[in-house]
């Protein structure tokens, strides 16, 4: 293995606690500590802790920050109230997706407002370079990559808010879904947000790198009786797939546009301009685009990425992510298919290493949390 892998501030903790470490987007990350299914279920029924420090955290300061983001994101940032968070996309001129991001609008203790982007680990350098190349001298905005100085911990599951309540300065019950605040976290200054990538209720915490182990161990310790446990990237993937959340590099890439990806809700065309707008308007008017669908299989074999979807001997699409769903106890997948095969109930087959395994199109998401 290459010695050049990035390590999160929790790396030693993972290694000491049975974390099976793998190279993920240039970072040495725990894929699992034990059973993926147990970690998955713990998150659905109690609390899972995820080290997501590998994700990029980019801070945008200055009076021109909102205008810069307005130009580069598919949704409008101007008007996003302090404490609010928005899911958005960064597109190229041709409408291809460079990344999917969360934009935080936050207020510092001294009352200054700033924006923060959380970007995919695999796209961090690309997005930093893209933003720098798109920034103009008169933008009145600065971009700082704070990924290394900070750590990010996702606390997800039905007991997550109750667990965090005594550890966090902010009133979590009063924090709406997709909002966040600068506050104290286990006595450290940090950001708590009501966000996550598992389909469960919960929070994500951003703290100084030096505080990461303290926060992580205290949250785990406090939540021990509620069944809190560390969860690796493998269960993060099965959880997000059940929740039908797209993953960059699988459902999303530079050759897929937000409309095809079924993310029209993350594109705001009206009364504004942004990179990719013209191309997306053309795509929007174009009939016959492939569609992102959910598939449920009859058998237990798992449809993996790139496996063909077949109807009547013809390939009509391709799997982008597949897994065995611990919640449904069924093999499931997300896939892109030709639009005439996208209706719920459509019978298709997945070519699993030469065998045509029957499957049908189902409504997304596969799993809906009761809370939130």
């Amino acid at each position: 293995m290459s010695g050049a892998l990035n390590q999160t501030p929790l790396h030693a903790w993972h290694a000491a606690h049975g974390g099976r470490m793998v190279d993920f987007a240039g970072w040495s990350m725990p894929v699992q500590y034990g059973s993926i299914i147990d970690e998955h279920q713990a998150t659905r029924t109690a609390v899972g802790l995820f080290d997501v420090s590998h994700m990029g955290r980019l801070r945008i300061d200055g009076p021109g920050g909102a205008a810069l983001l307005d130009r580069l994101l598919t949704r409008k940032v101007t008007g996003l109230g302090p404490g609010k968070i928005r899911y958005s996309l960064v597109c190229k001129e041709d409408g291809g997706i460079l990344d999917d991001v969360l934009v935080y609008h936050l207020r510092q203790p001294q009352d200054a407002l700033y924006h923060q982007l959380v970007v995919n680990a695999s796209n961090r350098e690309k997005i930093v370079n893209w933003f720098r190349s798109q920034m103009r001298a008169d933008d009145e905005a600065t971009l700082t990559d704070q990924t290394v100085e900070t750590a990010m911990i996702a606390v997800q599951g039905p007991s997550a808010l109750r667990l965090l309540e005594p550890l966090v300065g902010a009133d979590l019950g009063g924090l709406a879904y997709y909002s966040g605040a600068e506050t104290s976290i286990c006595g450290h200054r940090g950001i708590v947000s009501r966000t996550g990538y598992t389909g469960e209720d919960g929070c994500e915490l951003i703290v100084p790198a030096a505080a990461a182990v303290d926060v992580w161990t205290r949250v785990l310790e406090t939540g021990k009786d509620q069944g809190a446990r560390a969860v690796g990237l493998a269960a993060r993937d099965t959880l997000r797939l059940e929740a039908a959340m797209p993953l960059y590099g699988h459902e999303l890439n530079e050759c897929i546009d937000p409309l095809t990806a079924d993310l029209a809700c993350a594109v705001n065309f009206s009364g504004r301009d942004f990179v990719g707008r013209e191309a997306l308007l053309v795509i929007q008017a174009k009939p016959g685009r492939p569609r992102r669908v959910g598939l449920e299989l009859v058998g237990r074999r798992i449809p993996r990425e790139h496996y063909p979807i077949v109807v009547g001997g013809e390939k009509i699409g391709e799997v982008t992510s597949g897994t065995f769903s611990p919640t449904l106890q069924k093999s499931i997948a997300m896939a892109y298919v030709q639009p005439q095969f996208a209706e719920v109930g459509t019978e298709v087959a997945v070519d699993i290493r030469g065998a045509m395994e029957p499957a049908h199109v189902v409504k997304l998401p596969f799993y809906h949390s009761r809370a939130k």
């Binding site: 894929v31 699992q32 074999r301 798992i302 993996r304 065995f324």
Partner: protein
């Protein structure tokens, strides 16, 4: 069967050799180490009795949440028995990989295949380095 009395392939299959009806038969499964590495098994495909296998050639596959892995026969010969119970009780495979976790029995066509396999000590060494 005791792990110390088995032979092992680099690809983590074990073989127990016995004499049945005057011919040498290898009983084949996968090791506890392999099962531990795979974790969360969800599906297994085993061949039919009568199928011919070659040493180092695929005879089936086992699928975990994370990945699909091929099962390789450590020996050449004809499959004379298949553990049809196993695919329906994969979650129990980890408890007893060397006995009720057996997968196939192969009537050996070339006993020299056995010379290429590892003993328990050599296999342990391999696992430690992985």
């Amino acid at each position: 069967m005791k792990p110390t009395e088995l032979l092992y392939a680099e690809t983590h299959e074990w073989v127990a050799v016995s004499t049945e009806g005057g011919r040498k038969v290898g009983t084949i499964g996968i090791t506890a180490f392999a099962i531990e590495q795979l974790t969360d098994l969800v599906h297994m495909v085993l061949p039919k009795v009568g199928t011919k296998v070659g040493a180092g050639k695929e005879f089936g596959e086992v699928e975990s949440v994370k990945a699909v892995s091929s099962l390789y026969s450590p020996v050449s010969g004809e499959i004379v028995a298949v553990n049809d119970q196993l695919p329906g009780r994969l979650e129990k495979l980890g408890d007893d990989p060397y006995n009720s976790g057996w997968m196939i029995k192969v009537a050996l066509s070339d006993e020299a295949d056995l010379n290429k396999l590892m003993d328990h000590a050599a296999y342990q060494k391999q696992c430690a380095s992985e």
